[in-house]
Amino acid sequence: MKRKVFNQIKVFALLVLTLFVTNSCNDLLNNPMKDKETGEDLTLLLLDFNFFETKFTFHFVDSMGEYITDKNISVYLLGDDAANIVDYNGKKNDVYTPSKGRLGLAYDPNVRVTESDPVEFTVFVDVEDQSYEAIPVEVYFSEEGNYDVEVELFKTEELKSAVLSPGTEPFNVNFNNTLIKKNNDPVWKALSGVRYANGKSYYSVFRATLPPVGKLTSTNFTLNESLYKNWGLEGYYFISGDRKTKEFKLTNKEIEVKANTVSFKAYSATELKNVLRCTKGIFVNVHEKFNQTGTGNFKYKLLNGTDVVKTGRISFPSLPFTVNIGAFNYPASATSLKFKLEGDNQYTIETSEVNMTNFCGDTVKFVAKSKTGLVPYKIVISITCPGNVIGITPSMGGKFRVTGSQDPWTYFEFVQGTCTLLLNPGATYSVEGYLGDMTAEFDFPTDESKIDEAAEDLLESKKELEDIEYEFSETGNGKEIKIHAIFKDGDCPF
């Protein structure tokens, strides 16, 4: 009997062994948080580093709309809400420096932007070699979103000072008797309406280097004090590069600064005359005729007749989209405004000019039509920083155009690490990408067979990169490219 039971146990053991032989115990004990192939730690939760509900992309352009890329530009933000502005690394700086004429900043996500608590600050620009001047630009938005702000800079010439002709408002400004004014483009009229928080408006009139004693007379500077006598002046000057706020006053053809200043930049004030302000802005709605969605950036102009009321850009991660252009000033006499939208290399706008009668707070609708021959390329980017073992999906932006062409740049922005661009299959594109304060210039071939070479070139030029992995796949009507950038230890962009 004992032997019989023992035999049964042996048979039982054999059966159990047979049953489980196909189920490897080693596999069962694998830690699912370790990559099966490489053994590296995996990140469970992918964090989108796009922390910000409200972002601003500042475009520093010359009077022809071209980016100013070869100058050292310092950007100062002033006003109550300026303290809530951070760069994409979450840093609050006194001075920001654009890269390639572009500066991306964001609003502290812990501070809400609402109609009752709008974001309002003024952008002041200082070009190191003083070869350009810019009018302070007010930024005013009453809801969260991604906004483009164009800052136009005007070329000056060395040793020239400004001559203001106050009798010819809207202001004509002369540098050494040369009128700085575009034909039929009363930019100075619009500029005269730039407003700072205390209700005064500002425009840049001159720049000069002061002697050690802070007194500047109006030599070679014509100023009709009657225009300003009822208005105080506020200004900012620099001591050893630090921005200071100091009261200074306008006397008869003089501006006296009560400090020892080395260099000085002043903004004079004037009252808003016959100008109304629309704080509700205008909502721009665009949809694509063939439901061909993509990422892009369109330029717009808001016109009163031929006078420019406001210009700028609107970015969209996909179509359809609706965005607000923000507050603007307009002549009280204006009964209607014309909204003009320009397409880019991906889209044409069917009816690009729309007249608006009840423009303030209203919505203007456009139909975009994707250009023929273009195919959607969905690009998905993720980044890993091995030191921190974080998987992140960056929200980055950039611009592209066909390599070797002089086409205008088309701008794009990633949302949750993805964007869809309409590209010409077979073409190679020049791309400038921005990630935080890091920029990368590279060629992007749409031909899969050429992408190895492009990736190697990028790896060679960006020493921060350890490796780039990519994967092409066909989608219904286009392609999807997954790109995984692996940064070296200590070189993580975040």
Partner: protein, 224 residues
């Protein structure tokens, strides 16, 4: 309807009785296994064969915190096991049997959670509630899972009212399905474009078998 069912059951018993021309037994069992605690109704219709209908269930909940990218998350984890089973046993030896059948496999692991601290980022802190919530849910890809096992002992006692059984086996549940739902800044985790769900499904694909270690104690109620 109830009457019809009773008549049908009676007819089945008659057919079995006549077909196998031997004693049949009906009993109940309590069981504890890696699938939970439960019970079976055991119908032994042949000296070498019986059928079991049963259920089991177990639930365990806990909290666990973990950190990623300098953010600490707190997860509520609930693991549920359980099944409704229909098994057939064949005794190859007096006290060794092979069991086969199907189970409605209720295995499920669910983890929900959120960040419990803000994320310092430059000069600001990203609030914990902006980082978002997550839910991970793991379930068998085959809810109706075939079962195969071997047992030692008897599903119902052979010569006595009491019986004891020990069983080893597996449900074939297929590679587990993972569902991820995330909100806020961790939303990309559930975005199919980033393939996180697919990645972790492949990381747990080896768990296509659900192992069963089972003890049972049975009581013979009727012999006929």
């Amino acid at each position: 309807m109830k009457k019809i069912a009773i008549i049908l059951a009676f007819l089945v018993l008659i057919i079995f009785k006549q077909g196998f021309a031997q004693n049949m037994n009906l009993g109940v069992a309590i069981k504890g296994s890696t699938m939970g605690l439960g019970g079976d109704v055991v119908f032994q219709f042949h000296e070498r064969m019986d059928a079991r209908l049963g259920f089991d269930y177990l639930q365990y909940s806990t909290q666990k915190d973990f950190s990623e990218s300098d953010i600490t998350y707190l997860a509520d984890i609930t693991a549920k096991t359980g099944s409704v089973t229909a098994l057939y046993d064949f005794y190859i030896l007096k006290y060794i049997f092979v069991a086969a059948g199907f189970g409605l496999n209720n295995f499920n692991i669910n983890a929900t959670g959120k960040a419990i601290n803000g994320y310092p980022y430059g000069d600001i802190v990203i609030a914990a509630d902006k980082i978002g919530d997550f839910e991970f849910d793991i379930a068998p890809s085959m809810r109706i899972s075939p079962y195969l096992g071997v047992g030692f002992g008897r599903a119902l006692g052979k010569d006595s009212k009491l019986g004891f059984g020990f069983e080893l086996g597996s449900y074939y549940q297929g590679s587990p399905d993972l569902t991820i739902v995330t909100t806020g800044l961790i939303s990309p985790t559930s975005n199919p474009d980033h393939g996180q769900e697919k990645l972790f499904e492949s990381q747990i694909s080896q768990y296509y078998l659900y192992p069963i270690v089972k003890f049972s104690l049975s009581y013979k109620i009727i012999s006929f």
